[in-house]
Amino acid sequence: MSGWLCAIDHKRVGVLYMLSALLFFLAGGMEAMVMRAQLAAPGLKLVTPQIYDQVFTMHGTTMIFLVAMPVLTGFGVYLTPLMIGSNEMALPRLGALSFWLQFFGGLLLYFSFATGAAPDAGWFSYAPLTEKPFSPSTGLDYWALALLMIAGGTIGSAINLIVTIATERAPGMTMRLIPLFIWMTLVTSLMIVFALPALAASLVMLLSDRLLHARFFDAAQGGAPLLWQHYFWIFGHPEVYILVLPAFGMISEIIPVFSRKPIFGYPAMAVSTVAIAFLSYGVWVHHMFAVALGRNFLAVFAAASMLIAVPTGIKIFSWVATMWGGAIRFTTSMLFAVAFLLEFTIGGLSGVAFAAVPVDWQMTDTYFVVAHIHYVLVGGTVFALLAGVHYWFPKMSGRMLDEKLGRWSFWLIVAGFNTTFFVQHVLGFLGMPRRVYTYPNLPWYGPLNVISTFGAGILVFGILLFCANLAMSIYFGSAAGDDPWNAWTLEWATASPPPPQNFAEIPQVRSRRPLWDLKHPEAPDWSHEQVGGPA
């Protein structure tokens, strides 16, 4: 036990991140089910409006700050040293500190339930609703303090990843040879360093208002509630890409291995990632189109938002081109990766639609937004994560996941997810506002909502099956061996699970597929690739 509590080894810290994310995922999932139960039929009163507000706020905050970011960080921390051929993170104690800041931030947030008043202003907590006169309970103080801790922990782990990738790479592994997952982790970490401080600044201002009677966001006293929206979304939009770029990285590792082809367009992949990072800082106002900010001003942000579709499209194209003509093996991991391509594209397309200002005006604050964000974050991030879990679980545990259970959970999750969220597009068209605890019996509202709730039930069943697969395979799974997928990156060059010192001998890296080179000395990649040049 103390081996885990005091762990500074990157593999243990990584697993701690993932376990804590799983714990909070179950909490956030239960909150989602409370909402879906309450919305199952018109006029239901299972929970009060006050509780409903707390539940949707905690659901959003939990899933973004306590599930998605930590689990992606966990994968980054676990895999980065292994993939770049290093035995440790550059700053191991900072790694442990970052995790515990994150974890206790999560506990602090959930402690607010025990005080009887969880935060209830939504995950982006707009002022002036969050000001003391309108939210007098302590819920938002817990929210802001917890997020400050989480922001600190997240920045710490990002710094650690940046320094590790900069200084700990195996001999010969230039930036043109690092795996794409490492590229995306690096860019994500830099984005965290530039974006999370905006959240911290917003929270400091909010706490000053609430606890020290400052008046940043108090319009009655000359303050500017809009300032919160600007600052929060300067953090909040890059945050979307912070949540999805590591997922892109996972997909970029998984699709080539299960298509038996090197990734198509490695340089385009790396460059488009950097492009997304830059563009993501110039689009925050598309969350604020409903604010009267001036037509030309909005047009600039609409154009920038649509522009992000270009580098993202390049990625989708590269993944499909990698699969094209490949000898595809449809393992559960690959199934999730392919589902990711489809679901994320739906989320991306509804996003491009939204970037048009008049469409946004029509749809803002309706269930269309809910559908969009869930197609991006579940259809995108979570599906990629599930692909990643099925891909790397053998490495982390030394055991294979059960493929039959995996397939069952895959189809249940795909069916449940689409049933839950696809109809919410339509509810949005019909004008159903989000974040309202119940609704009148208008045409189609009842049937579509009951379909959505039914889908959520299937989704829960699929996720429970996935969890059961994890739990059972740890004990009863067949032995994985070092390299069950016949993969090409360095994490598969060591034992499963890797020993405390990852590599007995760190290989010289001369191509993007160092393990291929080791396995095929007769035809290594570097013999026919210009070393360090474009593939």
Binding site: I159, F194, P197, A214
Partner: protein, 154 residues
């Protein structure tokens, strides 16, 4: 090892740059009047803080406890001087609650002072081998103070 720590600190300071940039931007956005601030006495403390950068690099280069003590003394003088400035302002009725100037000034200067305090603690406890990394931090926050001083006082 030192290279890793320095790069890590540089990344941390990048994050701090964004943080203080936004607080300074908020200060400028509300453009309150600085007529209540005390320019001359604050200028003296600010000069002491700038001098502390030189004494700290001296301490780091020569591993001298004497110069380190001088640095901590100069830093502490700044912290005390700032506390005096806050007290004078509060006595004059300039508080966070009273005006937008008070709100933005106290938040900005207060967050900076918290960082200087943390730096003082770090200077007092870290071994000489890590002093260069802390010196990066210290120099950065002296620079941030110069920006705040120019923005708020001049």
């Amino acid at each position: 090892m030192r290279q890793r720590a320095q790069l890590g600190m540089a990344m941390f300071l990048l994050a701090e740059t964004v943080f203080f940039f936004l607080l300074i931007l908020a200060f400028l956005y509300f453009h309150g009047s600085n007529k209540d601030l005390h320019l001359q006495i604050t200028a003296i403390y600010s000069v002491l803080l700038v001098v502390s950068v030189f004494s700290l690099w001296r301490a780091a280069a020569s591993r001298s406890r004497k110069w380190l003590a001088v640095t901590i003394g100069l830093g502490a003088a700044f912290v005390v001087g700032q506390a005096g400035e806050y007290l004078r302002l509060i006595q004059d009725g300039v508080t966070m609650r009273q005006s937008l100037f008070g709100t933005t000034f106290f938040t900005l200067a207060g967050m900076h002072e918290l960082h200087v305090l943390a730096g003082l603690i770090a200077l007092a406890v870290v071994p000489f081998s890590a002093l260069r990394v802390i010196a990066l931090y210290w120099t950065f926050f002296v620079f941030v103070w110069l920006v705040i001083f120019i923005v708020a006082y001049i």
